[in-house]
Symmetry: C2
Subunit: 618 residues, 2 copies
C-alpha cells in the first residue's frame, strides 16, 4: 500500500502512513491524543482537526456533525478523515486531551529541546613541531571548549580511530557527545544530521520512533508485535520458558534486539537515512522486557520476593547488545520503579505532573499487568496487579487481538445491538475495547447482574435488556452465552458466562489495586482529581464503560483522561531533553512501592471489587 | 635451575631467583638499588648488606674488603654473595643509593599503601517481599557504605552476573573496586587475595612484577626480551614495519600482549596463584611501546611533527586488549610526557622529587632513545634525543647484548687490560657497560684523542697508553682497531675506529641534549645538584666513565646516582598507592617539552659534544 507523509501542526510531528489510515490513528501513532468521548466511533463529534490538504472527502457522519461553515474552513473529524496523499493538518486546541502539558503544547514547550546526545563541529588545532601535543587530548580540549562536561574516557575504538580521522579531514571534524562521553568523531561538519530512537518495548507490541534531535520532530514511526510472542503471551510465561530451556535467555534477548533492528531499518527507509546516523536510543518497557532487552536474566522477578536485577538508569553500548545503530552509539534505559512497575511507567509519569499536583492524581496502565501510580506533591505511590490477558482477548472464547475483523465497538442503536469491526470487515472475534463495550452494555441492561451472573433469557423480564434477551442462549460447556454477531460459516460470536468471569477477575485486579492504593493513603475515589489511562488499550475504551463495570470504582467519568501511548511519548521527551531525563530519574527516586501480594486485606478488597456496580438503567 | 626465595628487609620485598644469582642483582630486580661505585665488579666494597641465611660463603674479595668483625656480624658484599638457598637479608642504610626516598625507605613509607584497586567483603542485605529492591542497586549501596566513590556504572557482564552470584553466596560477597568502578564480585570473603601487575614495556626488555596489593610486596618478578624484536631493534624500525605491512599493527600489538600474558603466567607459577586473582595492571613504557600495547597506530610519531595518538592516563579493560588477568580487570596506562618522552619517564619521576627540589636535578634514561628531564620546584623540562642502539651493542663490530659471554667490565689491573664476562664464560663480544669501560679507558689512556680518533700503535709515545699500544692494529675495513680479548677460534674481539665513531655519536646525542636543556634554563652543568641515571644500562656503568667520555658533560661524579629500573619501581608505586598515581598524573601536567629537532643551535651543540674531554691521565 502506498505511503504518504502526514504532518501535524503545531507539533510539527510527521511520519509516513498507509493510505486509508484515519488521521486520528495517525495522530495517536505520533503521540498526539485527540479528545473523543466515543473513542473514534464517529458519534461524539469531538475529535476536530483542521486539514489543509491530503485527506479523503467528508463522510456523511461529518456532514451530520459539522456545520457548513466548519466544513468550509477545513474542519474535519479526525476519526473520519483518512490519509489520501501527503497531508498536513492542525490539531485544534479544544481537541487536545486536557491536562497534559506535553500533549497540549507539544514537546518543546514543556521540556527545553536540549538532548543529551549532541554534535559539535570542530576545528581542532593541528600539531606543530616542538609542541606538547597529543591527538586525543587536543580533540578533547576542542570539545571541552564547546561544552565542558566530557569527562569520561572515550572508547578504545575511538582512541584508535582519532589520528586517521583527524588527518583525513584536515582536522575539521564533528564530535558526537552523549552526556559526559565523546562517542565518535565524523569527518567534516555533520552537525545537521543527528537522530535518536525512542523505543517502547511492550510485552505485546514494540513501538519505535525516529527522532530528529536537532528539531525534536518525530521523523518516522514503526511498530510490530513483540517477536517473543511465540514463547509466551505474558512475561511470566516467557520467564518460565527461559528458566526451563538452556539458551532461552539468549534466544529471547536476540529476538527482541533483532526486532528493534528491523524496526530501525524500517524507520531509516521511511526517513531516507542511514542507521549509522543514529547515535542514541532511549528504551522503556516493563521490568521483564527491559531485562530481556539488556540480556539480563529476569528469573528472580518470577517468584517471591520478585527481585529485578537492576533498577537503572543504565547506559549500555549499543554494540554490546547488538543494536545496529551507529556502532559507537549508546542506549539509555530509564529507571524502573519497582519489581513489576517498569520504566514505561516512569516514562508516562515524566509526561505528567503528579509530583507537583495539589490534589491526588491517578495513572493507570492496563495491560496483562496493571500498573498504577497514585500521587500528588505529598508523595508518589505505585503498585502493580496481575490483570491477566483477558482484556487483550486471550482466555475469552471469541476474544482476539485488535486486528482486522475484530469487533472493536459495540453499542445500542435504537435498542438494538450495533457493532463495528476494524477495517469494516466481516467479524472474526472481539477485541478488548469491544469486550468492554459489551460487558458494560450487558451490566447496564441488567443481563449481567452485580455478581457477574449472566441471566438466562427467561430471567430478563423488564428493562433495556428485554430487547436483547433473545440473544441469550444456554451453552453446553460454558454456561449461558450472549450472541453478538454471526461469524463466517454460520457460527455465532458470543460471550459466555465463563468469559464474563474472566473479565470480572481482570477488572477486579485493577479495581482492588486502586482501592488499596487509596486506602493506603487514606483517600476515597472522589478525592482523586484526575485519572489518566495510558497504554494502547486505553486509547480505545470509553470512560463511562470503565466506570459502569467498576474498573474505575467510584471515579466520576469526567475526571478520566486517555493519554494514549504516553510511555513512548516519555521516551521521546527524554531523548530530546536533559530536563525530561532528569525528571524521570528524580521520579524513580521519590516513588514508594506498595506490594499487594503481601497484604492481609488484598483478598477482601479483591472479592469486593469483583461485584459490578448496580445497573445504571439506560 | 632450582629457584630460591630471596627476601629483602626492611622493604619486605621478596621473589624467587635462580641459585647463583648475586644478591645485588636480585635486589636490583626487585627495584632496590645498592650503592656501588664499581658497578658490581667487587673493588669498591660499598654494596654491603647483612645476610641472615641462605647465601654462598664469603669470597676472597670479601675477606679483603670486610673486617673480621663485619664478617662475624653477617655483613657481606652483595655483588659477591650469591643465592644458595632461601635467603633473607637486610639492606644497610649506608648502602642505599642516597637521595631517593622510595629506595631508601621502601615503598610504603614514601607513599601510603592505598591502592586504587581494593576489595571489600560485604554482607548485602537480601530482598524482602514488598521492598523496593534491586540486586545491582542493593550491592552498590553496600559498596558505597564501605567507600563512597563507586560512581561509574558497572560493566554489562557484571550486571548480568550479580543476581546469581548474590544468591549462590547467600549474599556474602567480596566487591572488587577499582577507583570509581565496581569491577567484579566474588562469592564469600576473598579480600585476603588481591594482586596487581607492574609492567615496564621497553623496546628491548619487558619486565613484569607481581604485586601483593594487600601488603605492597613484590611477590615475583619476570622479564624477557621484547618479542617484537624480530620486526626491528628500535621503535622507528618497528613503526616503519607496521606502516609497510598490512596487519603489522595487529601483529606487533598481539606480540607484546602475548608476551605479557606469558610473563603473567610465569609470575603466577612462581607465586603459586591464579591469574584471575589479578584485577589490575599498571603499564609504563616509551610512547611507541605504549601505543603498541594499547593497539593504537603510532605512525604519526614516526615523522614530524611526531604526534602521539594519546597522552593518557588511560584505563583500558584488560579483556579489550587481550590481557589474561581477570576478565573484569583493567589496565592503567600512566600518562606520557611528550612525543618521545613516555610514561616510563613519568614513572621514574614519580619515584624522585625533582618537582620539590630547590636545586636543579637531572634525570637521564639511556636507551636507544635518550630521554631526560631537568627540573626543580621552579619547573620541569624534558627532551629526548635519538642516541641509537650503540650502547646496546648494535652497530658495534663486536657489540652484543648483556647476555652470557658478554664482556661487561674492562679495567686496568697493574697497567694491564683485565675483563670480566657475564657468567664468567669465554668472551663472545662486548655489551654496553663493557663498551663504556673500554671507551673511557682508551680516552684516559690517550689512545682515543679528544676528536675521537683512535691512534695508531706508533702514535702512542708516552703515558698510560704505552703498555696497551701493542693491542692497536691496523684494520682493513674500519680503520685502526683495539684488540680486547681473544674470542674462540683464534679471532680477536676488538673495537674499531668506526665503532668509536658510533659510540661518539651516541654519547653526543645525550650530551648535547643535556646541554640544550641546561642552556634553555640558563644553567651550567655545575648548577645541577643531582643526576639520576635510570634504566637497565645505568645499572652497569660507572659514573667516572660517563664523565670521562663526556656523556655527562661537566657533571661532578659524586653527584651521579644510579637508580636502576626506576620505571618499573614507579609502576609499583602507582599500583600500590593512589597518592603515587596522583603524583604521576600531576607531573604529566606540569612538565614542559623542549624539542631538539626544531632548534637552530642543536647541530652546533651536537658537534661540540662529539669531542671527548681532555684525557684525565690515570
Amino acid at each position: 500500500m502506498a505511503q504518504r507523509r502526514v504532518t501535524f501542526l503545531p507539533d510539527r510531528r510527521s511520519s509516513l502512513f498507509d493510505e486509508g489510515v484515519s488521521l486520528r490513528d495517525a495522530a495517536l501513532e505520533l503521540g498526539i491524543v485527540i479528545e473523543s468521548s466515543c473513542a473514534g466511533i464517529g458519534t461524539c463529534g469531538e475529535c476536530r482537526i483542521e486539514v489543509a490538504e491530503g485527506a479523503t472527502p467528508p463522510t456523511t457522519t461529518e456532514l451530520d456533525l459539522l456545520t457548513p461553515d466548519e466544513l468550509k474552513r477545513g474542519i474535519r473529524l479526525s476519526c473520519q478523515a483518512q490519509v489520501q496523499s501527503d497531508c498536513t493538518c492542525t490539531i485544534l486546541p479544544e481537541s487536545r486531551v486536557a491536562g497534559d502539558q506535553i500533549l497540549e503544547h507539544g514537546l518543546t514547550s514543556e521540556f527545553r529541546l536540549d538532548p543529551d546526545c549532541t554534535k559539535f563541529p570542530l576545528d581542532v588545532p593541528p600539531p606543530r613541531l616542538g609542541q606538547k601535543y597529543f591527538d586525543l587530548e587536543a580533540l578533547l580540549a576542542a570539545v571541552s571548549g564547546q561544552r565542558a562536561a566530557v569527562s569520561v574516557q572515550p572508547s578504545l575504538n575511538l582512541i584508535r580511530r582519532i589520528p586517521s580521522v583527524l588527518r583525513a579531514s584536515n582536522h575539521k571534524v564533528t564530535a558526537v557527545v552523549d552526556r559526559d562521553r565523546l562517542l565518535a568523531i565524523e569527518p567534516g561538519d555533520t552537525s545537521a544530521c543527528l537522530y535518536g530512537l525512542a523505543l517502547d518495548i511492550g510485552t505485546t507490541t514494540v513501538v519505535a520512533k525516529l527522532m530528529d534531535l536537532r528539531t525534536g520532530e518525530v521523523r518516522a514511526v514503526s511498530s510490530a508485535l513483540n517477536a517473543q510472542e511465540a514463547y509466551g503471551a505474558d512475561v511470566i510465561t516467557r520467564t518460565k520458558y527461559l528458566i526451563e530451556h538452556e539458551g532461552g535467555l539468549d534466544l529471547l534477548h536476540r529476538l527482541i534486539i533483532e526486532q528493534i533492528n528491523r524496526l530501525t531499518e524500517d524507520l531509516c527507509n521511511k526517513a531516507g537515512m542511514r542507521s549509522s546516523d543514529i547515535y542514541t536510543a532511549v528504551l522503556v518497557g516493563n521490568t521483564i522486557m527491559q531485562h530481556l532487552a539488556v540480556g539480563v536474566d529476569p528469573r528472580h522477578l518470577a517468584a517471591a520476593p520478585y527481585t529485578p536485577a537492576f533498577q537503572g538508569p543504565a547506559t549500555i553500548q549499543a554494540a554490546e547488545i547488538g543494536l545496529t545503530i551507529n556502532e559507537a552509539g549508546s542506549v539509555y534505559f530509564l529507571p524502573n520503579l519497582a519489581c513489576f512497575v517498569g520504566s514505561d511507567i516512569t516514562a508516562v509519569l515524566t509526561t505528567l505532573h503528579l509530583e507537583s499536583s495539589d490534589e491526588p492524581q491517578l495513572v493507570i496502565d492496563i495491560g496483562t499487568n496493571g500498573e498504577m501510580v497514585l500521587g500528588s506533591k505529598h508523595g508518589l505511590y505505585c503498585c502493580s496487579s496481575p490483570a491477566g490477558p483477558a482484556w487483550e482477548g486471550a482466555t475469552i472464547s471469541w476474544g482476539m487481538r485488535a486486528a482486522h475483523g475484530a469487533i472493536e465497538r459495540i453499542d445500542l442503536a435504537d435498542g438494538q445491538l450495533a457493532f463495528r469491526t476494524i477495517g469494516s470487515l466481516a467479524p472474526l472475534g472481539i477485541c478488548g475495547s469491544g469486550l468492554m463495550d459489551l460487558l458494560a452494555l450487558l451490566v447496564r441492561a441488567g443481563i449481567v447482574d452485580s455478581t457477574g451472573r449472566l441471566l438466562g433469557a427467561d430471567e430478563v423480564v423488564n428493562g433495556p435488556g428485554l430487547r436483547l434477551a433473545d440473544r441469550i442462549l444456554p451453552n453446553r460447556e460454558r454456561g449461558p452465552s450472549f450472541r453478538v454477531a454471526e461469524a463466517s460459516e454460520g457460527k455465532w460470536i458470543e460471550l459466555t458466562q465463563r468469559d464474563v468471569r474472566e473479565l470480572q477477575l481482570a477488572k477486579s485486579a485493577i479495581a482492588s489495586a486502586i482501592n488499596i492504593l487509596l486506602k493506603e493513603r487514606g483517600l476515597t475515589p472522589s478525592d482523586v482529581s484526575r485519572v489518566y489511562i495510558a497504554g494502547a488499550f486505553g486509547n480505545h475504551i470509553r470512560g463511562q464503560d470503565a466506570v459502569d463495570i467498576g474498573l474505575l470504582p467510584g471515579i466520576p467519568v469526567e475526571r478520566i483522561h486517555f493519554i494514549g501511548n504516553a510511555a513512548v511519548a516519555g521516551a521521546e521527551a527524554v531523548i530530546c531533553s536533559r530536563q525530561a531525563r532528569r525528571k524521570a530519574e528524580a521520579l524513580a527516586g521519590m516513588i514508594e512501592y506498595v506490594e499487594l501480594a503481601g497484604r492481609q486485606d488484598f483478598q477482601d478488597e479483591f472479592s469486593a471489587a469483583l461485584l459490578f456496580p448496580e445497573a445504571a438503567v439506560e
